[in-house]
C-alpha cells in the first residue's frame, strides 16, 4: 500500500513539474481512504449480521486542461479507483469524472459545454448544505470534504451536464450593465416506453444600476421533452420565476444599510400520468425580504427578514436534498434479527456512506425531523412563513466566524388541521483560537456549534406536537509540532417529543401523516492525528465511536466504531 501511494505521489509530482505550460496543465487529486469498523449491538437484538468489516479505496483523479487557443479550454478529469482488496487490476474502475469545454466566442459570449456547475438563488437553483455540521471540527470536516468533493458539492452549486453561456451588455441608458446567463442541462434520458427525456434549463438577467442597486430576473424550468417517447408519455413541467434585488440604502465608512429580497412563483403541470390522483397543475408563490445593518468598523452584521413560502411552491432546483433519507446506509444496510433497514445517521453522512443526490428531484425527498424540521428543503421549504434574524462576523481576532441565527416560522397552511405548526430554530457557532488566549505559539483551536429546534402545535390530543431537538458540535485541534496536530470532536444530537410527519405522493401532495414518537440520542466521538501538507492536503488517522439510543417506535440501540485512515492530496 505504502509503495503504491508513494508511486502515485511521485507520478503526480513528476507530471505536475513537467506539464504546466501555455498549451496544457495537469492537476488532480489522489486519495487513500481506509475503514475498519465494528458494529456494536446486543446479541439478543442481532446475532446474524457480521460485526466487523473493512473497506476502502485508493484513487487518482487526473485532470488535464488543454488550451487549443487563447479563448478555449478543454478540461478532462479521469478517475482511477481501486477498491481495498483489489489486486493487479481486480476491483479497478476507470471513469471519466469530468469533461468540459470552455471558451469565449467573439470575445463576448462566455460558454461552457459538458459538466458544468450551476447555482442561482436560494429559491431557484441552490444546493443546500446537508444536516449535521455547525462550525464542524477538523476531525469530521476532513472526511465530509471528501464526500463534497466526490459529489461536486461546492459553493452550494449543482453539478450537471449541459451547456451554459454568459455575456454582458453595456446599455446607453441609466443602467451600468446588464448581465445575461443561461443554461440547459439533461436530467434524464428517455426509456422510449413512456418516460420522456427530462431537461432542466433557465437563466437570469441582472440589471445593475450601480454598485448600490441591482435587480435580477430569474427563471428555472424542469420539463419533459414531448415526442422523445411514446405519444401518450407523461409530461411534467415546472417553472420557477423570481426576481431578487439588493439595494444599498446608505453606506459610509462605518456603516452600511441595505435591503434585499426575492419574490416569485412556481407553476407545476402534469399531463398523461397513469395515476388518477395526479393533479393537473399546482401553482404557488413566495417572497423573502430582509434588511441588513453592517457595522463595518465593529465587524458586526445584523440581518432581519420576513418570508412566506406557499404550501404548493415547488422549486426542484432549490428543494432537492443532498442526502436521500429514504435509503439506508451503504454499510450494515440491514441489521438486527428482523433484517430491518438501518436508518441513515450523521456518521454515515460524514463517512460518505449515504445515498446522495446527483440529479434534481421534482419530488420532495424524505427528511429526518430530528435533524431538520424547520427548513428541511433549505430556504425554499414550502409552507413556511415567519421572521428570521442573524448576527454574524463577531470577529475579535481570537474569536472567529461567530454567528447567531434565529428563525421563528410557522406553516402558511395547517397540515392535517387548521392549527399551524410553529418552528423555533436557534443556531450559534464560533471558532476560538485558544492559542491566542493562552499565548501559545502553535495553533490551538476550539470549535463550537449549538442548535436548538422546537416544533410546536397546540390543540386536541390527536393534533398536538411538541418536539425539542438539540445539537451540539464541538471540536479541538492542537498543533503538536509543525503541521502535525491532534484533532478531536464530538457531536451530540438529542431529541424528545412527537411529530406528525407528512407522507407525500409523487406529486408532493400530502396523503398521510406518520405519527412519530421520538426519544433519540446520537453521539459521535472522534479523535486522532492529522499531518497537514497545506492547501487542504492531509494525512489523518482517526478513531470514531458512534452510538444511537433510539427509544422511538422502531428504534434500535446500537453503535459503530471506526478506525479510519485518510490520505488526501490535491495538486
Amino acid at each position: 500500500m505504502k509503495l503504491k501511494l508513494t508511486f502515485i505521489v511521485f507520478i503526480v509530482f513528476v507530471l505536475q513539474s513537467k506539464a504546466q505550460n501555455d498549451k496544457y496543465q495537469i492537476n488532480g487529486s489522489a486519495r487513500s481512504y481506509l475503514f475498519a469498523n465494528q458494529l456494536n449491538i446486543e446479541n439478543s437484538l442481532d446475532s446474524i449480521t457480521p460485526k466487523k468489516s473493512n473497506y476502502g479505496h485508493n484513487l487518482l483523479d487526473l485532470g488535464i486542461s488543454v488550451f487549443p487557443t487563447k479563448e478555449s479550454e478543454v478540461i478532462g478529469i479521469f478517475r482511477l479507483r481501486n477498491e481495498l482488496g483489489g489486486f493487479w487490476g481486480g476491483g479497478v474502475v476507470f471513469d471519466v469524472r469530468q469533461l468540459t469545454f470552455n471558451g469565449v466566442a467573439a470575445k463576448v459570449v462566455k460558454y461552457s459545454i459538458g459538466d458544468i456547475d450551476l447555482q442561482m438563488t436560494k429559491y431557484t437553483l441552490f444546493n443546500n448544505d446537508e444536516e449535521g455540521a455547525l462550525n464542524e471540527a477538523d476531525v469530521f470536516s476532513l472526511r465530509r470534504d471528501v464526500m463534497h468533493y466526490d459529489y461536486f458539492y461546492k459553493n452550494n452549486s449543482w453539478r450537471m451536464q449541459g451547456a451554459k453561456i454568459e455575456f454582458n451588455l453595456l446599455p446607453s441608458t441609466n443602467l451600468e450593465k446588464i448581465k445575461f446567463k443561461g443554461f440547459i442541462t439533461r436530467q434524464r434520458s428517455t426509456d422510449e416506453q413512456g418516460r420522456p427525456e427530462r431537461l432542466f434549463g433557465g437563466g437570469n438577467v441582472k440589471f445593475i444600476k450601480s454598485k448600490n442597486l441591482f435587480i435580477n430576473l430569474n427563471t428555472a424550468n424542469l420539463f419533459d421533452l414531448k415526442k422523445t417517447s411514446l405519444i401518450d408519455s407523461s409530461y411534467l413541467f415546472n417553472n420557477v420565476t423570481s426576481s431578487d434585488f439588493n439595494y444599498v440604502i446608505k453606506s459610509d465608512s462605518s456603516f452600511k444599510f441595505n435591503l434585499s429580497g426575492e419574490g416569485g412563483f412556481s407553476i407545476n403541470k402534469y399531463e398523461n400520468f397513469d395515476d388518477l390522483g395526479s393533479p393537473i397543475s399546482m401553482n404557488d408563490w413566495f417572497y423573502d425580504i430582509s434588511t441588513t445593518l453592517n457595522f463595518t468598523k465593529k465587524k458586526l452584521e445584523f440581518t432581519i427578514g420576513f418570508k412566506d413560502i406557499g404550501k404548493d411552491f415547488s422549486s426542484p432546483g432549490a428543494q432537492t436534498k443532498r442526502i436521500n433519507f429514504s435509503k439506508s446506509s451503504n454499510i450494515y444496510q440491514q441489521f438486527t434479527n428482523d433484517y430491518i433497514g438501518r436508518t441513515l445517521t450523521l456518521s454515515d453522512i460524514i463517512n460518505g456512506n449515504s445515498n446522495n443526490s446527483v440529479k434534481i428531484s421534482p419530488e420532495l425527498m424524505a427528511y429526518n425531523v430530528v435533524y431538520n424540521n424547520t427548513n428541511p428543503y433549505g430556504d425554499a421549504t414550502p409552507n413556511r412563513r415567519g421572521i428570521y434574524f442573524s448576527f454574524k462576523d463577531l470577529d475579535t481576532g481570537k474569536v472567529k466566524g461567530s454567528h447567531l441565527d434565529f428563525r421563528l416560522l410557522q406553516e402558511s397552511t395547517g397540515s392535517g388541521t387548521l392549527r399551524k405548526k410553529v418552528f423555533i430554530l436557534s443556531q450559534l457557532g464560533t471558532r476560538i483560537s485558544l492559542n491566542e488566549f493562552f499565548q501559545l505559539k502553535k495553533e490551538f483551536v476550539f470549535n463550537l456549534g449549538y442548535q436548538n429546534e422546537i416544533t410546536l402545535r397546540s390543540g386536541e390530543d390527536f393534533e398536538k406536537i411538541y418536539l425539542n431537538s438539540n445539537f451540539i458540535d464541538v471540536g479541538l485541534s492542537y498543533e503538536l509540532v509543525n503541521h502535525f496536530s491532534l484533532v478531536a470532536g464530538h457531536k451530540l444530537w438529542k431529541a424528545n417529543g412527537n411529530e406528525f410527519q407528512e407522507v407525500r405522493d409523487p406529486y408532493n401532495s400530502i396523503n398521510d401523516f406518520e405519527n412519530l414518537s421520538i426519544d433519540f440520542t446520537e453521539n459521535i466521538t472522534a479523535f486522532g492525528v492529522k499531518y497537514d501538507f497545506g492547501n487542504q492536503n492531509a494525512l489523518t488517522i482517526q478513531y470514531q465511536n458512534f452510538k444511537i439510543k433510539d427509544g422511538g417506535s422502531n428504534g434500535v440501540d446500537y453503535g459503530i466504531s471506526d478506525l479510519i485512515i485518510l490520505f488526501n492530496l490535491k495538486f
Binding site: F245, Y247, W285, G414, L418, E463, F500, N511, F513
Partner: protein, 335 residues
C-alpha cells in the same frame, strides 16, 4: 420626475403580500381528526315509522359524526330478504349521500313489509351499531316498459314449449319471487336434451311500444337457477324477434332474430340485463348475422322467447325461475 428605486421595490413587495391568499379555513393533507381523532355520534339516526315510496317519499339517514370515517348502512326486508346498502366516509350523512327511494341492491325487491336498518362503523373500535326499522307501505314505481311481471297470469298471445316430464307455470309465493308475488318456474328431469322449456311472449298488434333507439334501451329480467346449476350447466336463451317488414308476424327466413345467452352466475336471484344495441355481438364479441335488415330496431320487436336449458348429463332435476321482464332506458333496471 426621478423615482427612487426603493419605492418601486416597496410597491412590488406590497403587491405580492396583498395577493397572498389567506386560506385559514382549509388545511393541507388528510384530516388528523379523521386519522387519529376520537369517534362519537353527535346526532343519531331517527327514522319515521313508515314510508310510502309509491307516493314519492324517500328515507334520509340523517346522522352527524365527530369525524369522517367509513360507515355502512344495511336495510333488510324482513319478509323478502331484499337488501339495500349504503356506505361512505363523510362525517355528515344526509340526503346527499343516502337517499333511499325504495330499491334494493339486486333482486329480490322490497315488498310491503318491515325493513330493518343497521348502521355500523367498521373502522372505529368499540363503536356502537345503530339498529332501527321502518314499515314500507308503498313500493317504488318502476320506470320503464314492463313486458310482464307474472302477477296477472299469462296472455293469450303467449306460446309455450316444455319437454316431456317438465312442469312449467306461474307460481305465486311472496317468499320466493324476485318482485311482487309471482314468478315463472320450470322444473323437471330431461336426460336426452339440454332444452327444458320455454315461453314465447308475443306482442299484440301494437307491438311492445318500445322506443326506436337501441343505443340506450336495456332488456332486464330476474333469473334464478335452483337445481342442476353450475357455471357451465345451465343458462337462459333469449330470442328477440323483429318484424322488419311490418306485416305483423315474424319470419325467421327473412327477418332479424337476435339471440342472448345468460349463463349461471350463482344460486341467488340475479338481474340478467343487456343493452339492446349489444345484441349485434355474440358472446365472443363477434358481429352476428341475421336474415333481415340487420338493424337493431326495438320498436319492431314483436316476440321474446325465454328458453331454459340445462345439462342433460347431470342426472338431476333442472329447476329455474324468471321474473319481472322489463325494458329500461339509459341504464339497467334497478331493483
Amino acid at each position: 420626475m426621478k423615482i427612487n428605486p426603493i419605492y418601486i421595490l416597496c410597491f412590488v413587495f406590497f403587491s405580492f403580500i396583498s395577493c397572498r391568499k389567506e386560506d385559514s379555513n382549509s388545511f393541507d393533507g388528510p384530516s388528523l381528526n379523521d386519522l387519529n381523532g376520537p369517534f362519537n355520534i353527535i346526532s343519531s339516526l331517527n327514522l319515521d315509522e313508515e314510508v310510502d315510496f309509491e307516493s314519492g317519499e324517500e328515507i334520509n339517514f340523517d346522522v352527524e359524526l365527530s369525524k369522517n370515517t367509513l360507515w355502512e348502512i344495511e336495510i333488510t326486508g324482513q319478509t323478502s330478504g331484499a337488501i339495500r346498502t349504503f356506505s361512505g366516509t363523510e362525517r355528515i350523512i344526509n340526503s346527499t349521500n343516502t337517499a333511499w327511494l325504495g330499491g334494493s341492491n339486486t333482486f329480490p325487491s322490497f315488498q310491503q313489509e318491515k325493513a330493518i336498518v343497521k348502521m355500523s362503523f367498521p373502522n372505529e373500535e368499540n363503536s356502537p351499531i345503530i339498529i332501527d326499522s321502518v314499515n314500507i307501505i308503498g313500493l317504488k314505481q318502476d320506470k320503464g316498459y314492463v313486458i310482464t311481471d307474472f302477477e296477472n297470469g299469462t296472455d293469450e298471445n303467449w306460446s309455450f314449449f316444455n319437454q316431456s316430464g317438465v312442469n312449467a307455470s306461474i307460481n305465486c309465493n311472496s317468499d320466493l319471487s324476485a318482485k311482487g308475488s309471482c314468478f315463472y318456474k320450470w322444473e323437471g328431469t330431461v336426460s336426452w336434451d339440454w332444452a327444458i322449456g320455454s315461453f314465447q311472449i308475443n306482442a299484440n298488434e301494437d307491438g311492445f311500444g318500445l322506443p326506436a333507439n337501441a343505443g340506450n334501451l336495456f332488456f332486464n329480467m330476474a333469473t334464478k337457477f335452483i337445481s342442476n346449476t353450475g357455471p357451465d350447466n345451465c343458462f337462459i336463451l333469449l330470442w328477440f324477434d323483429e318484424d322488419d317488414n311490418g306485416d305483423g308476424s315474424f319470419n325467421l327466413e327473412t327477418e332479424d332474430r337476435y339471440i342472448y345467452e345468460y349463463w349461471y352466475e350463482n344460486d341467488k336471484w340475479n338481474l340478467a340485463s343487456i343493452k339492446y344495441d349489444d345484441l349485434k355481438y355474440d358472446g365472443d364479441g363477434q358481429p352476428v348475422e341475421t336474415n333481415g335488415n340487420g338493424l337493431l330496431e326495438p320498436s319492431k320487436l314483436i316476440g321474446i322467447n325465454v328458453f331454459f336449458l340445462a345439462n342433460k348429463d347431470s342426472g338431476i332435476k333442472s329447476e329455474a325461475l324468471v321474473d319481472h321482464i322489463i325494458f329500461t332506458e339509459n341504464e339497467a333496471y334497478k331493483p
